[in-house]
Amino acid sequence: MPPIVDVQHLEKRYGSFVAVEDVTFSVEEGEIFGILGPNGAGKTTTVECLQGLRRADGGDLHVLGYDPRVDAKPLRRQIGSQLQESALPDRIKVWEALDLFSSLVPSGQPWEIVMDQWGLSPKRDAKFGNLSGGQQQRLFVALAVVNAPRLVFFDEMTTGLDPMSRRVTWDLVRQVRDQGTTVVLVTHFMDEAEELCDRIAVINEKRVVAIDSPDGLIEEFGGGATVTFSTDAADLGFLDLVEEVDGVRQQGRRVTVTGYGALLVNVAAALVAHGLKPIDLSSHRASLEDVFLTITGEER
């Protein structure tokens, strides 16, 4: 099956300012694909080009088989969208917004069903301006899927939400995917990307610098794993021979083993085999945040 989104060397300029220089990635059907990057890296520009809201200046773009530069209109009918910095009029009621947006694409589901499905029925007659941040995101998600799209774009959904609402919003995103819709998620939150995404493209300074699963990125850029423990034993030479160990450092009783892969298990097995059972054996693995900072080269 061809990828649902295929971008090759996307380029976008605003006058002389280059917003995106060389963005290449593809999204497979059914996954949650994250686009992660610092502010101003070109994330929003990228997804807006994919939706045909901005015109790409260079590169090959294919979304659901359409070129967004040529077939923006039929494309937009088949995708769902939650835009950054986009709102509804304060005085529009929840049901009116659903009714309006469902009427845009006649092939979609009846809005009453969508309203029930996304738990908005209790807020049917509430005005948009009176909803909490989390409820507004719930409505945006419902509006994005009201036309039963194969692909949705979510751009910075949880910015400004409290931790509770963020969790709820994450559940909504998973729910969208579980219904078979492919999700492209733009975020600058590491925890969000790590929690939700099957694969992540890291965009930095206008280009894609890494694409992998969260685990893959950590494995590749996280500087491996570290295992520490304390012991009185003097000769730890056997540890150098253990599989996937890179180095052993001993400072008094404190021992630090660096390596990769399933380091903790391997080290533990070797220690037990040599009759050592340290009670403070622990493993530290780089988080996605560490990886991100490594890749984007920012100071900690």
Partner: protein, 249 residues
């Protein structure tokens, strides 16, 4: 078509939920009309007096003029403010992302302006009819035709302003400014005959001046020449420029 109708209906409801805008668009022209009525009365001028109000009673002059003015107030203040506010908040961008076209957005603005113009025009006429003894319309059909033309022309002008003005605040300020300048120079404030030469020249450039003449001509069976042509030209140019400079964000 479905999109256009639905969007128009939602916009109309949203407009009615903004009490201040409703009061302003509908009530202000009415208040000014009654002040003018109190000041000028409705005496038909005697032979030998200076000719003001095109030689007819003040209220016979002002009532048709204010029918034109309420259309201008709906279109020149409400449309730009609403359009710019929707753009500023990202509503237009969101509609665009769901493939709503520029024609549906602009069309919905015009449709709402039409409904509001009819309602406010009717309120104005009924209120004036209860209080003043002004001349009835010569031809209801011609008056209605002119009314439609005025609404389309002013709505285009409003969409033009809404397209070029970046924010809702700017749109509201400019809309009000344009409206008040038109009110005083365009024949809906002091009688045009008392304006200085320079003011009269400026008034020729306001769409309201031509709108007022057209409505009075239709109402009273007068003929002031090419106003309909000039007004239509302003409307067409506004529509073209409005669509040309329309931005989603």
């Amino acid at each position: 078509m479905g999109t256009f109708l639905k969007l128009s209906w939602v916009n109309l409801k949203l407009f009615l939920r903004e009490p201040l805008t409703v009061v302003f668009s509908l009530a202000l022209p009415l208040i000014i009309l009654f002040v003018l009525g109190g000041v000028f009365g409705n005496e038909t001028p005697q032979p030998g007096e200076d000719v003001v109000f095109r030689g007819i009673g003040a209220m016979s002059y002002y009532v048709p003029a204010y029918v034109a003015l309420v259309v201008a107030s709906v279109c020149v203040i409400s449309i730009p403010t609403h359009l710019a506010s929707d753009r500023e908040r990202g509503v237009l961008k969101r509609l665009h992302a769901s493939s709503v076209g520029v024609w549906a957005v602009a069309g919905a603005e015009v449709a709402v302006a039409c409904v509001l113009s009819v309602v406010s025009g009717a309120i104005l006429l009924v209120a004036a009819w209860l209080v003043y003894d002004f001349e009835p319309a010569e031809s209801v059909v011609v008056v209605l035709g002119v009314f439609v033309l005025l609404t389309l022309g002013f709505a285009s002008f409003g969409i033009f302003l809404g397209s070029i003005l970046p924010t809702a605040r700017a749109a509201q300020a400019v809309g009000m400014l344009v409206w008040f300048v038109m009110l005083f120079l365009g024949g809906a404030g002091p009688p045009p005959e008392v304006l200085t030469g320079a003011m009269q020249t400026m008034s020729e450039f306001t769409p309201l001046w031509h709108a007022v003449l057209m409505m009075q001509d239709a109402w009273l069976g007068l003929d002031a020449g090419l106003s309909w042509l000039i007004f239509s030209a302003i409307g067409v140019v506004s529509a073209v420029l409005g669509l040309r400079f329309f931005r989603w964000e």
